[in-house]
Amino acid sequence: MARPTVLVADDDVVFVQSLAAVLRTRYHVRTVANGTEALATVEDDPPDLVILDVMMDHMSEGFDVARALRSNEATALIPIIILTGVDRVYNLRMEVDESWVPADQYFEKPISPVVLMRKVGDLVGPGEAKPDP
């Protein structure tokens, strides 16, 4: 079974480095720095999971990408994790209004690698424990 692909969209290079180091232990990882690149990458080769920061070039870029993915039939079923430092209120808001930002999980930065891997495992399976080629 091929390793599931995780796309990480975040403009924080150091954070992306950390995340990639964790995810690469079991998944294939691709990284982009903004929403436009994220959408283009998904269109070219849909990943198994998308992890989005919210504030990149624009204030709510991550949310816009999530809505765009869910409104497109071809990408609507790709699981989405929002991983950002914006506001704790978002978590509550997503609980009461699932349609607000269509994501499967909202995490705040900083993120524990264990928690992240557990959630990614829930969404796309455990992956394979071998290094990325």
């Binding site: 150091v14 954070f15 480095q17 950390s18 070039d57 430092g85 705040e108 690698p113």
Partner: protein, 484 residues
């Protein structure tokens, strides 16, 4: 630097130096208050008029008991007329003219009511004994009420009209052109008593209008004053609330800006602790370097926040402030930034060498250095990858020094040009340029300019470059320093 440019900038500086423009249409508010009051008073007046009509009807019925047989039908007709036109006035006031309607229309209606009432009163005076009529004092009473509602000059005109009409009425009665109606006591008026009555009526009517007008004018002035004070207080309260909201927003944004690198640092450390990367491996080393850079950026943000806070407090009006030469400051900065410019392949053009000395009476040197250094650094930092030119020019006139820093770099998108002086606002093309920045530099520059009594403005075109202009008054000394 051209004269028109300096003049335009001076005008901008002067315009920004204090005149507060009051918003809202105060005049309309006062009109509304007056209209509301007038509407209430006119309705109250209509109630009084019902009483007057009823009184007249009663007198016409009871007339024979007071030896006034001739007046009975005439008073009944007047009572009926008063009741009819009062009905019309009530209808107009309640249905057609509310307080939210035109104040001028209500004023017109008030004058019309006064004229019809005075006409009805003069007819009543005629049918109840002319110049000896017991109804005559009601004319004076009516003028007093009218002056409360209608402005003085119109009431003086009405006083003149009613005096003339009454005098003419009495003259016509005395000459026999109009039949004299007997008084309550049954007697006839004499020339002497009529002249005396007319004179007293004129004095009383004008006197009452004068006194009532002076009291109501003062009352109205106080009313306006009170309303203005209330409006100003409300305005100040709104400003205070806005300030509190801005403060809160600023704190939230600042906290987020601090939390963001902290989140990254914490995650990176956790990744290393959990053994996902070996710190000794090339990837681990790269992550450690990146993490250290984030710590540096965090420190930069904290330092800039402190700098901004100090400037906002006016550095307690800087006891170490002194006379400062802008030329010297710019020359020193050029020495500092020159290596940085060379590295970025940017040519620095000092267009202030031959300019006269721009000496500020009161300045805090480190703050001015920070401001100009920041602007020149930005101009170099956001130059195009292939390099470019940064020109720093100085202009002076009798009152102001103007420093213009122009580059031909990446520019600022038009939709962000108004916001770049706000805290933590960075244009996307600046982020893409991979140039480090806290997003606080321009806020500090603006604060530094304002602290020195000046202002900063910016013109930019994306892809073509940016020109930042700082205008500083030569002789500005903060009021707190003068008062000390």
């Amino acid at each position: 630097m051209t004269e028109p440019t300096m003049t335009r900038l001076q005008t901008q500086v002067a315009a920004g130096s204090g005149t507060r423009v009051r918003s809202g249409s105060g005049k309309n508010q006062f009109s509304y208050i007056f209209a509301w009051e007038l509407h209430e008073r006119l309705l109250w007046f209509c109630k009084l008029r019902w009483l007057a009509a009823a009184g007249l009807a009663l007198v016409s019925v009871l007339g024979p008991f007071f030896s006034m047989p001739l007046t009975r039908p005439s008073l009944a007709v007047i009572a009926a007329l008063v009741a009819i036109y009062n009905l019309v006035f009530v209808y107009v006031l309640r249905v057609r003219l509310g307080p939210e309607k035109d104040y001028a229309a209500l004023k017109g209606l008030a004058i019309l009511q006064m004229v019809t009432d005075l006409a009805a009163l003069l007819f009543t005076v005629h049918f109840t004994g002319g110049c000896a009529s017991p109804v005559l004092p009601f004319v004076v009473f009516h003028m007093a009420i009218g002056t409360i509602m209608i402005e003085g000059r119109i009431m003086y005109a009405l006083a003149f009209a009613v005096s003339t009409a009454a005098a003419s009425l009495f003259a016509l009665e005395l000459t026999g052109i109009l039949a004299q109606v007997p008084t309550v006591s049954g007697g006839q008026s004499t020339v002497g008593s009529c002249v005396l009555s007319t004179a007293m009526l004129v004095v009383l009517v004008f006197g009452v209008v004068y006194l009532t007008d002076s009291v109501t004018s003062r009352f109205k002035a106080r009313n306006i004053e009170l309303h203005q004070t209330t409006t100003e207080l409300r305005h100040a309260l709104d400003e205070q609330e806005q300030l509190e909201r801005r403060k809160s927003h600023y704190m939230r944004i600042s906290a987020h800006q601090l939390r963001s690198p902290l989140g990254t640092i914490k995650t990176s450390i956790q990744v290393l602790i959990d053994g996902y990367l070996d710190p000794g491996s090339p990837d681990g080393h790269r992550l450690l370097e990146g993490t250290a850079a984030r710590v540096d950026s965090l420190l930069d943000i904290v330092n800039d926040l402190l700098e901004l806070a100090k400037m906002r407090e006016g550095r307690a009006r800087a006891p170490w402030a002194r006379e400062v030469s802008v030329n010297q400051i710019l020359a020193d900065i050029f020495d500092t930034v020159d290596p940085f410019a060379r590295e970025a392949n940017v040519e620095l053009v000092p267009d202030f060498i031959n300019e006269g000395a721009a000496v500020l009476d009161w300045a805090v040197p480190p703050d001015l250095v920070y401001a100009f250094e920041n602007l020149i650094h930005n101009a170099i930092k956001y130059s195009k990858p292939e390099g470019g030119t940064v020109t720093v020019a100085l202009g002076i006139d009798r009152t102001h020094a103007m420093v213009v820093i122009a580059d031909d770099g990446i520019g600022i998108p038009s939709d962000l040009q108004d916001d770049v002086f706000l805290e933590f606002v960075r244009a996307p093309n600046a982020k893409h340029a991979r140039a480090e920045g806290t997003g606080l530099g321009l806020s500090i520059v603006r604060e530094a300019a304002q602290m020195h009594g000046g202002k900063v403005s910016l013109e930019s075109a994306e892809g073509l470059g940016t020109t930042v202009t700082v205008v500083l008054p030569l002789h500005h000394i903060p009021p707190e320093i003068i008062d000390r």
